[in-house]
Structures are given as C-alpha cells and as structure tokens.
Symmetry: C2
Subunit: 266 residues, 2 copies
C-alpha cells in the first residue's frame, strides 16, 4: 500500500482558543478527503501553541542575571533567553545565535523551540512574520505547547468522536541536527501512533531472526509530513496521511527520548 | 499535490554486477507504475553495495594493533573494526557494541555503516541474515558504496536514457541519532534532487521575508522512503516517489555535511 501525504487546504490563521479539531475536520472537507480508520493528521507545533495561548509579550519578561549573561554570550535578546531558561531543563551549548538545550519536554533542541522570528530588530523595521502567515504582532514570541502528547490526544479524541473513525494525531516541529545541515521535521507529541517500532525478533525472508532494529517511525513520518507542509507561502500547517505501514496503538513522544546514561554527546 | 511513496514489488535478491537500473525499471513495471518526469526512485545502500561488489570476506582481513585494541574496548570482531578504521576519517566515540565515526564519505554514523549482521557468533549458530533477504553467506560483511553520489547518478542516467523521463535517484541508509531513540532513513547519495532547499528570502503570506531556513529536504524524503521500505520480511529495498514538492536540480550528499568548524558536538 502506498503512503500518501496531502497538505490540507483551507486552514485559517489560528487564534487563541480556536478549536483545532473542528478546523482540521473543515480542512479535510475543503481538501475533499474523507477520513478513514488508520489515517493520521499531522499539525505544526505553531498552530497548537497559538490555539493554546502560548504567546508571551516580551514587555512582560524581566531577564534574570543568568539570562543577561547568556544573552551576551549568544548575542540574543535577554528576555527571549529568560524564557528559554524557563523552558529548559539544561543548557548544553552556547554559541552566537544559538543555545542548545534539553527542553523541559525532554528533547534536545536549539533555542528551546521558542519562535521569535516576528520580533523586529529595530522599531522601524517590519516585523518578521511566521511561516503560514501566523504573524503574532510586535514583541510577541511563541513557546512550545505545555504537553504536546496531551494536545495530540485531545485533538484525536474530538475528531474520533466527530467522525467515528479511529485515527492518529501527531504534532511536529523542525529541528537541526548535530552533524548534518538542514532542518527536518520531528515528532514532539502524538496520540494513537507508535513513536517507535521495535523489530526485534521479526523474521526476515529466510526465517532468521533479524538483529535488533528499533525504527523511529514517528520521526520518519514527521519528516515526511514536514516535506509536504513546507515552510513559507506555499506551506500549510496541517497534513493528512494515509498508509502508515505499522499498526496504530497509543504512544508517547517520550519513547523517542534517549536516556541521559545512553547519551554519548551531551 | 500529494506526496506518494510506493514500495516496489518484484525486486530480486541482488548479486554483484547486477544492473540496478534495469532491475528498478522491471520493478516499476511489476508495480504497475509508469514513470513520469519529476519522479524519484529511492534505493537502500545495501543493494547498491551488493551490486558494486562491496562484500568483504573477513577471512582475508588482518586486524592492525589499533583495530585489536578498539575491538577489545567495543567488544567487537577485530576484523570488522579493521574495516571500520579503513572506512573512517576519524573515531569520535567508543562504547561496548558501538563505535561512532566520521565516515570517509563525511557523515557521522555508527560502525562506519558496515553491515555484519550475517556473521555467526559461533560456528554452530545460524548466520544472521540481512533485511530484504540479502544474506551474503558466512563470514562476509558489506561496506557502503565507494561513491554513492556517483552510484545514484549512474542509475539515474541509465533509467533516464531507457525511459526518456527526467527523474531523481536517492540512496539511503538508516542512522541512529545523538539524542533520540530509533533509526531514521537518511540520504547518503543522490542525483537529480536538491539535498538542501534554501528558503532564505522566500516571502510568507504577508509578503515579509522569512528568517533563514534551510530545509534538509533530501533527508526528509529519505526518512519518508525508509518508512515505506521497512526493515524485515515485509520490506523492499526500493521505493517510487511522486510529488516531491521542490524543483529538481542536480545535488550532492555533501550539501548535507555540517563543516567541522560548525560542529558543537564532536
């Protein structure tokens, strides 16, 4: 069976308290897609954060001394760095323009996943806007969802109750990689989908047991969805997936987190 | 336009000097897929290596003193470690069962991408076999292709001349990640496809310039293809892709390699 990923049409600009389940169902209708059992919906962390009101007005943020010192090292806005510290469990690396952290959600990422691309560098320059037209307004930044697995579960349960179909929902973000150039979509929250598929004990064509292979299936799907969702004017913050090749089950983004005692590169 | 990935049927066990272009065209026919301009074919590094004769009989390998010492530290076969040293530019980490290297091809990966899963632990135990039924025989290991970009280009050019269609070809492997559990497909060679898509200067919906975003499009596609190609009995070593959302151009796997002076985690 082929794997088919379709960017959804008709997703409006998302505002706080918008109901993403309703909006996704409307987007499926606008895209002429009839949901089937086993389908998956993928959304960006940005629209989840916006719906959940995770915008912060930088005018309300008072940077600590530690934030001011890190901001000097990284040449970043101290108020953004203050939020980054609040969103992080550990600071791993500091370079000009980039602070690599262990996010409070457990994954390693740059700048704690805080989106501050719409903060104007000077009062006269136009604000940098979000992909998907999600401009927040002057001086606002966007934090990642508080609990993306829970956000995905809530969206899944509401869509399942509206449609009667058994589906999966995934929330993705774009991450850089330690040794490779270019961002790729990664899973930061999911419901109704396995994050990992453990192929230990599967037999190959000759009937021999394969060596241990644990596939990061959710991250592979996140990368695939990111490809069709794009980043700019052509982009859309949601995609429909049909043909995910592994059985659906409840899962958690936490399956994907490498325990610290297995981390060779911290 | 949706992105559609279809695992190819009818790919036989690959032997040295097999013509992968012919085999892929036969696989497309067996899968009832008529190639179109802009389509992409993705293949595993394993079948490319096998066709190119990159098997090594461990009985012919004499481990150096350094290989013997590393093998003791990592609890690995010293002959496999000797090949790993020959295939690597730098050793980054050594742990029991895992040696992380910079491969001579430039990327960071575990165990230099050497597949020795079919080496029997004892003379009496059955050999571990490859996914896709690619058993090599007792005491043989498989190295990555010598020049995967060149391999991809040769396959692309032959298929283009046979079919008259303008396509892309990508060679993928499965890599672990520093901080996340589970392997994901990554691009180790390509032709006719951009490895990176640079969205600097693109306008968003409001006409503002986006901040710098460089998308690892080839790795996103590699992950997507890996998902449909699978790992075990259900797997196939080739997939057809339609709907890649970025313009095709000639590319190189080298675009994906982070320069050492930007590497925070070596």
């Amino acid at each position: 069976m082929p794997l088919t990923l379709t960017p959804l049409h008709g997703i409006p600009l998302i505002r706080q308290d918008d109901d993403l389940a309703d909006i996704l169902v409307a987007g499926l209708n606008a895209s002429s897609i009839a949901l089937e059992d086993g389908d998956i919906l993928v959304v960006t962390s940005k629209i989840v954060s916006k719906a959940e009101g995770r915008m912060v007005d930088l005018a309300t943020v008072t940077p600590s001394e530690r934030a001011q010192e890190l901001a000097r090292q990284a040449d970043k806005d101290p108020r953004v760095v203050e939020l980054l510290l609040q969103e992080s469990a550990e600071i791993l690396r500091v370079r000009v323009g980039t602070i690599i952290v262990e996010h409070r959600l457990g994954f390693v990422c740059a700048n704690a996943g805080i989106d501050h691309s719409n903060v104007s560098p000077t009062p006269d320059s136009p604000p940098q806007m979000y992909p998907f037209g999600e401009g927040l307004g002057e001086g606002l930044v966007l934090l990642l969802p508080l609990d993306p697995d829970a956000s995905a579960r809530a969206i899944r349960e509401k869509i399942e109750s509206k449609t009667g179909k058994r589906i999966g929902v995934m929330i993705i973000d774009s991450h850089g990689r330690a040794w490779r150039i270019g961002t790729v979509g990664v899973c930061i929250g999911l419901s109704g989908i396995p994050a990992l598929v453990d192929e230990r004990g599967w037999k190959d064509l000759f009937g021999y047991e394969l060596k241990i292979t644990v596939v990061g299936a959710a991250d592979e799907l996140a990368a695939a969805a990111s490809l069709v969702m794009g980043q700019a004017a052509e982009g859309t913050p949601a995609a429909h997936v049909r043909g995910f090749p592994y059985p659906l089950r409840e899962g958690s983004m936490k399956e994907l987190l490498r325990p610290k005692d297995q981390d060779m590169f911290r």
